[in-house]
């Protein structure tokens, strides 16, 4: 599990875990609204910087502009998306019934009391949330479609794909 804080937003803490061979995605998807986490389909995340970029953007929006969704978690999902359609962002990045690899994200105020750890709910094997594992799970073609990266400038490596994705995250709606 990655437990971190973004230095510019010390009032928030971020916990992220990556699970593989998740058995109960179906059940988790139905509980998305009630559980204090975001569940993300790991196929759509190619790097740590991709997900953390979205977290940064979410906190930036919440702090200096306005919150556009109901919770910090849905804000993060929106911020992952290259478009400003909230439903669309959930559909694309949120956990799916058949997701095998799932990222659990908890973003909360520091003073907020502890919530149960992810593994209480997720039936799967936790692996390190790092680029090595993300690199095994992500779906290059899917990512290209989601972020509408045109084929003429096809990013070759995961690094360049990640770079294009980070750009898209930071430039959404601007």
């Amino acid at each position: 599990m990655l437990q971190t804080k973004l230095p510019q937003f010390p009032k928030y803490k971020v916990d992220i875990s990556l699970f593989r061979d998740v058995q109960n995605s179906n059940e988790l998807k139905t509980k998305v609204a009630e559980l204090p986490y975001a569940f993300i389909d790991a196929k759509t995340i190619c790097s740590r910087e991709q997900l953390l970029s979205a977290v940064y953007r979410a906190l930036d929006e919440v702090t200096y502009n306005k919150m556009r969704t109901k919770s910090l978690h849905s804000e993060c999902l929106l911020c992952l998306s290259p478009t400003s359609n909230i439903g669309d962002a959930f559909h694309k990045f949120g956990i799916k019934e058949d997701s095998r690899e799932v990222i659990c994200l908890q973003l909360s105020k520091v003073e907020q009391h502890e919530v149960p750890p992810f593994h209480v709910f997720v039936k799967g094997i936790e692996v390190a949330f790092d680029d090595e594992h993300l690199g095994q799970f992500y779906d290059k073609e899917l990512l290209r479609r989601i972020y509408k990266l045109d084929s003429s400038s096809q990013p070759q490596s995961r690094e360049s794909l990640s770079r294009a994705v980070v750009n898209a995250i930071h430039l959404r709606g601007l």
Partner: protein, 265 residues
């Protein structure tokens, strides 16, 4: 005033992010920091540096103009960098984060210190360093050809830099022993442009910059840059050659009239 602005940035980034002022232009103030805005401190970020480019509020202009401009320019530069990063072979700093509400861009830090205390590895210092012993050495030639290549890529793809000086070209050590890879930085005045005039002015500004700091060797240096530049266009066959001829013709015109058009009173 820089203390005042630095104070604003300190408040904005918090004490968790130590900042060092490296340049203060008219429009933006640039800092470095060892802290990545969102990646945790570990092997991948340790010892790294990042750029924070801040466009401060200007009291002299009306608040609504000020806010609109700051946002417009921050987004503009971020968008430009994003587009440029997709051009194969073109080397520009990576966009890390963009906070339009505070006029801040986080960018990858490029460059390093040159050997023998010759200063930071921008093209200007690099040429100074070599001017002392072997101004026409192979590494100088190779590097300037590559500089030309970078500008060629930029122009061929219809972008212009707007402030192409030898300080805005930063060299990064390449895989080849003793080789350098030029990167273009500071696209604050950059734009999408297919106009030969804008491109001609870009080339002219760089030529002038080289002449003013390295006048003795400027002829050869500029010739190498143009050679590298031309090669990009020549690779594009007939169409490329045609555009190149047109561009170099305009470049010569710009040089003749000293950048500015003549105007009545």
């Amino acid at each position: 005033m820089s203390e005042e602005i630095t104070g604003q940035v300190r408040t904005y980034v918090t004490d968790n992010i130590p900042i060092t002022l490296i340049s203060q232009g008219a429009e933006a103030v640039v800092y470095t920091t060892p802290i990545h805005p969102y990646l945790p401190i570990d092997d991948s970020t340790k010892g790294e540096k990042y750029i924070i480019k801040y466009r401060p509020h200007k009291r002299y202009r009306h608040p609504s103009i000020d806010q609109a401009l700051t946002k417009h320019r921050t987004v503009g530069e971020a968008r430009l960098l994003s587009k440029l990063s997709q051009i194969e072979g073109l080397q520009v700093p990576k966009l890390i984060a963009c906070d339009v509400y505070n006029g801040c861009l986080w960018l990858e830090f490029l460059g390093q210190d040159l050997p023998q205390g010759a200063g930071f590895s921008n093209l200007k210092n690099f040429l100074w360093m070599h001017a002392a012993n072997d101004p026409y050495s192979n590494v100088v030639r190779e590097t300037l050809l590559k500089v030309g290549h970078q500008i060629g890529l930029l122009h061929w793809n219809n972008y212009t830099h707007g402030d192409l000086t030898s300080s805005n070209i930063v060299l990064v050590r390449s895989q080849i022993v003793d080789g350098w890879e030029p990167h273009l930085i500071d696209f604050g005045l950059g734009s999408v442009s297919s106009m030969v005039e804008d491109k001609g002015v870009d080339l002219y500004v760089l030529e002038r910059a080289i002449m003013s700091t390295h006048s003795e060797f400027a002829d050869k240096y500029n010739a190498w840059i143009i050679e590298g530049f031309s090669n990009v266009y020549k690779l594009q066959g007939k169409a490329g050659q045609k555009k190149l001829d047109e561009l170099l013709k305009r470049f010569a015109e710009v040089r003749m009239r000293g950048r500015k058009r003549t105007m009545i009173g």
